[in-house]
Amino acid sequence: MNSPVSIAIHGGAGTLIKGKMTPEKEKSYRETLQLALDEGFSILKKNGSALDAVEKAVIVLEDSPLFNAGKGSVFTADGTHEMDAAIMEGKDLKAGSVSLVTRIKNPVSLARVIMEKSPHVLLAGQGAMDFAKLHGFQLENEDYFYDEFRYQQWQKIKDSDHFQLDHSDRKDSKFG
């Protein structure tokens, strides 16, 4: 390698903080986090780009039901899943982002395609969905995003004005 390479990742806890989860659950979290790190790092080790590495690491986390992104996305007030993602490279300040999309397996990859194949930085909602279809993104069934734990999280505050951040048990009325 020409110079040192490094990668870091983060994931919210989905209200499960250390000390409140079973050893089995903690093991699952650790294994998924390690897999994301390893997949990203293996790209860097082969002289791949930082852009490829961060996209791959996030895809691993999006594909897990444990984290609030992609497959593990929480429920909206309407019982749907709305996802947001962004990606940016430091070399030339290129950026792409997507908001309020549904049924997209890996929103981070859609953000990257927006960066690389559109003149825009942020696409949202139905327009972003149309763009995704145009570029061959497959839509998953709603069942793909169903998770019993997330569903029960939603049931606790459904039909209220409360909303809840994924890393907190609080039910603040305005800012999560």
Partner: protein, 134 residues
């Protein structure tokens, strides 16, 4: 919310962030994650950063770009700049959360000011850490 930042062998850096939002959100609410300069930013001259936390406060604080500016204009080291943002500036807005950031020398910092943060880092010096913070 999940995210990643990386520095490659050509000393280019990048950031990615993805979220499923907040439970029971409505009205088309979006947080900081898809907003460039707020929850995600990368600039080879400063750092790559991905944020997680209460999105409304990150939007008000323009957090990711604020970190980059502290490095660019105030010449702060990565860790010092990130600590300034998470432990001083964000609390002034009554916001909570954290970030991960890397610079083109491969330095990593991962500050946060709230519970339930999951973190991981790996580099070519052999460091490989996973941490779940209370």
């Amino acid at each position: 919310t999940v995210g990643a930042v990386a520095c490659d062998a050509n000393r280019n850096i990048a950031a990615a962030t993805s979220t499923g939002g907040m439970t029971n959100k409505n009205w088309g609410r979006i947080g900081d994650s898809p907003l460039i300069g707020i929850g995600n930013y990368a600039n080879n001259e400063t750092c790559a950063v991905s944020c997680t936390g209460s999105g409304e406060f990150f939007i008000r604080g323009v957090v990711a770009y604020d970190l980059s500016c502290l490095i660019e204009y105030k010449k702060l080291p990565l860790k010092e700049a990130a600590d300034e943002v998470i432990f001083k500036r964000l609390p002034k807005l009554k916001g909570d959360g954290g970030l991960i950031a890397v610079d083109r020398s491969g330095n990593i910092t991962m500050p946060f000011n709230t519970e339930g943060m999951y973190r991981g880092m790996r580099n070519s010096n052999g460091e490989n850490k996973i941490a779940i913070y209370e």
